[in-house]
Amino acid sequence: MWGGLLVVGLVASITFAVTLGPAEISAGEVWASVLHHLGIGESPLSLLRDGIVWQLRMPRVLTAAAVGAGLAIAGAVMQALTRNSLADPYLLGLSSGASLGAVSVLLLGVTILLPIAAFGGALVALVLTLLIASAAGGLTPSRTVLAGVAVSSLGAALTSFVIFWTAKGDSYREILNWLLGSLAGAGWSAVAISCGAIALVGIPIMIAGRSLDAFAFGDTAAAALGISVGRTRWTLLVATALLTGAMVSVSGSIGFVGLVLPHAVRLVVGSRHRVLLPLSALVGAIFLIWSDTLARTLFDPREMPVGIITAVIGAPLFVLLLTRKSTRV
């Protein structure tokens, strides 16, 4: 039931968010333009204004949906795998690794495409985290979290160093946007990456995620229920890291979506992952679509990074969830 409502909500969100923006274009014209690009009818807009709809707004809204969904799934899975309510998608040092990749392109002038550098950085961080955790003796949740903290700190320190040492003029603004998380540059390639990641990694995770329920009482109980604990954990960790890495590479590290939304969904539908994961994905998509719409229209014609909006909404929401008895942290 909730699923149906949320799907309708998502479609409605996409349909309406794309009509909003600094430029004055009527809703009818916007939809006519979209239909035109889908092969139906002509666009009533000039080439330039049509570009606003089809090159700026449409890919951005779709990317927001995919990224929001991906981050919510990743957050929920990380929380289950590490049995930690404070886990988020970036737990394994992923966002720091991606930041390092991003600043090396933006500031050190390394000539790789930004999304590739960011994704590569995230993967390096992941490998480092897993190596450290296993070297400490076995991939337990607490060791993985601690290793992730170490790698995150290292990545953040290196990123800060690069910024401090090389940032000239107002180039730091671009880094700032990336670090806070921004969908401003999302074109159709970003749509391809983020939707591709959902299709290729996100959906399999949601299916495999059913076994996450068994982790609720620890590894022994899960093994006694027939789960191959080590293999399941590794597979889900790596898959989640890939999903997160892909999202971060197109949008920077948007915070709070992966941390807070799964808790909110749990409050309503409980912890069964077969239901939790898809619903979190839908809620994440809708949330980020509207957060981004706010980011680009609230102070029209100024734009701000969407990470600011998600933090401003997410932090109080998190406090609210904490104070409810049914959330255990």
Partner: protein, 335 residues
């Protein structure tokens, strides 16, 4: 957990020193160098000035001056005080040709905002900074601390951030007032008056473009553009050049903007700020690569104006820069 760790780079960036390296000179009319003048015996010391909310008292004409940012260096060079500069820091680009020789003799302390120790090691009696952020404990030192050491400090009034002091809007009169005030502080009232008169003359000689063209002042940023807004130096120069700024309604000196708003306005011309770390050509490439901005009429026809970064901030180069903009505009034909 991730938010605090990500604030580290944020904090670093906010506190970080920004280095500006050389770029192209502004073509066209340049202000002529004023003759070197000895401190005028007529200046009445001590001089007291309220500079950005700081009580500045100068007991005698400063002889050992450290400048931070190009605008400070250039103002002193234009007043003929080059030989009193014992060190400069944080240059935004090479000085215009007529001062190149004078400037060559000045040692560069740092390409970024200098540390307090580096400044003090030179034993200055005055520090002339372009931004308020040049005077923090991590950079040249807090102004009160410098005062206790007997070192005077001055921040370009156009860069004051406090509401009571920020020029709103910045006008040429404010710029000229800074020149006059600086001249007074350094004991060269005559030279300052001469320079201001010359600049006023040059300004009056600029015939603004009459076609009522709209303009985007594009400073930096690829995903979110950073542009000249309604109350700062860019607006001042655009007004004098006869251009209408599409971001004029934003009450700020520069602002983050949105490409959608740019495309919606479809400006007639685009001013590209040229800096070595972010060249005009790279901005053109960004505009052409973005499928939405690629169709802008200014991009399609290549209607670009260029201005060096240093000339885009309030200082002695603004008049010449405006003239250059007008000259570049006259070369652009529009129906």
């Amino acid at each position: 957990m991730s938010l605090p760790t990500r604030l580290l780079p944020l904090a670093a960036a906010a506190a970080c020193a920004l280095a500006l390296v050389g770029c192209a000179n502004s073509p066209g009319i340049s202000p002529e160098p004023a003759a070197s003048v000895a401190p005028s015996a007529a200046t009445d010391y001590p001089v007291s000035v309220d500079n950005c909310g700081f009580d500045l008292n100068v007991a005698a004409a400063p002889e050992r001056i450290v400048t931070i940012k190009s605008t400070s260096t250039e103002t002193l060079l234009a007043l003929g005080l080059g030989d009193r500069i014992i060190g400069e820091a944080f240059p935004d680009g090479p000085v215009p040709d007529q001062w190149a020789d004078d400037a060559a003799a000045i040692p560069v302390i740092s390409d970024f905002a200098p540390s307090q120790e580096a400044v003090l090691a030179l034993e200055p009696d005055f520090v002339y900074g372009g931004w308020e952020s040049n005077f923090t404990p991590e950079t040249a030192g807090e102004r009160a601390a410098l005062r206790d050491l007997g070192i005077g400090s001055y921040v370009s009034p156009a860069a004051c951030k406090d509401d009571a002091y920020q020029p709103d809007p910045l006008t040429f009169d404010v710029v000229f007032d800074e020149i006059t005030e600086a001249g007074h502080l350094f004991g060269v009232d005559n030279a300052a008056a001469a320079l201001v008169a010359e600049q006023r003359g040059d300004l009056a000689g600029i015939s603004a473009d009459t076609r009522g063209l709209s303009v985007l002042w594009y400073s930096s940023g690829t995903d979110i553009p950073y542009v000249g807004a309604g109350i700062g130096a860019p607006q001042m120069m655009m007004d004098a050049a006869g251009l209408t700024n599409i971001a004029a309604e934003v009450q700020d000196t520069w602002t983050s903007f949105s490409w959608e708003a740019v495309v919606d306005a479809d400006p007639d011309v685009i001013v590209l700020v040229d800096a070595s770390w972010n060249t005009a050509d790279s901005k053109i490439a960004a505009l052409e690569a973005n499928p939405a901005t690629a169709n802008l009429s200014a991009v399609q026809d290549g209607r670009y104006l260029r201005i060096p970064f240093a000339a885009g901030e309030a200082g002695v180069r603004n008049v010449a820069a405006t003239a250059s903009l007008v000259e570049q505009l006259s070369a652009i034909g529009l129906d």
